[in-house]
Symmetry: C2
Subunit: 125 residues, 2 copies
C-alpha cells in the first residue's frame, strides 16, 4: 500500500481509529455505537465512510456486518510521517527534530528520555 490506496481522509480516519483501538474485527453495531457517540454521525454517514474505506482497500469485510482494518495503525503512522516530512522538511527527519527542539515543542524531560534512546542506539555503531 504505497500511497495508502489514495489516502485516508479525516472523517475516514475517525473510523480507522475505532477499528485500530480494537485488536479484533468489529461489528458495524459496535463501530456505530462508538462513532455516533464520539462524532455524532448518522448511521448512513458511517456506512458511507466504511464503503469508501472498503473501496480504497483500507478496510476489509470479514463477513456480513464485521469489519477489520487492512492497513495497520503503525503502517499509517509511518506512511503519514514520511509524507509529512517530505512535504514540509524536504524529506529530512533531522530538520524536523531540530525544528521541534528550537521551537521548544520538546521539553527538558522529553529530551532527557530521547537522549537515552539515542545513546542506546549509538552502541551498535
Amino acid at each position: 500500500m504505497n500511497d495508502l490506496a489514495g489516502k485516508i481522509q479525516d472523517a475516514e480516519l475517525e473510523v480507522m481509529r475505532v477499528l485500530w483501538e480494537k485488536a479484533d474485527a468489529m461489528s458495524l453495531i459496535d463501530i456505530r455505537k462508538i462513532l455516533s457517540d464520539r462524532c455524532g454521525w448518522e448511521d448512513s454517514t458511517i456506512k458511507t465512510l466504511l464503503r469508501r474505506l472498503l473501496d480504497k482497500g483500507i478496510v476489509r469485510l470479514e463477513k456480513r456486518g464485521v469489519y477489520s482494518p487492512v492497513v495497520t495503525r503503525d503502517e499509517y503512522i509511518q506512511w503519514s510521517t514520511h509524507t509529512f516530512i517530505n512535504k514540509i522538511f524536504s524529506g529530512s527527519a533531522k530538520n524536523l527534530v531540530a525544528t521541534l527542539v528550537s521551537n521548544e515543542q520538546l521539553d527538558e524531560k522529553d529530551i532527557k528520555e530521547l537522549s537515552a534512546m539515542f545513546n542506546a542506539g549509538e552502541k551498535n555503531e
Copy 2:
C-alpha cells in the same frame, strides 16, 4: 493566524514556496516565470491561486502586480508541524521522535548531531 485562515492547499503551497524563496515582495511576472516553469501552470491558474491566497489573508498585494507573503515560512512550518503532531501523535512531539528513531528515519549521523543539540540544551536546566 491560528488556523492559518483556512489552511494552505497543496497547489497554493507551491505558490508560497516561491514567495518564501525570495525575501522581498515579488512581481507577478517573476512568480509566473518560476511557476509556469516549475509546475507547468497556465497564467490563469497562477492568478486564481494568488487570488485564493489573498482571500485567505496568506498573501498581501503590495501594489499592483506585486505580492508578498503575510504568513511566513516559519509560521507555516510551525503550524503544520503542530497540526500534524496533534493529528497523528495526540500532541506528543516526543512520540513522534521516538517513532522516527525506531523506524530508522534518523540515521546514526543525525542522531549524533541531535544528541549534541540536546546536550547543549540540557545545560540550562
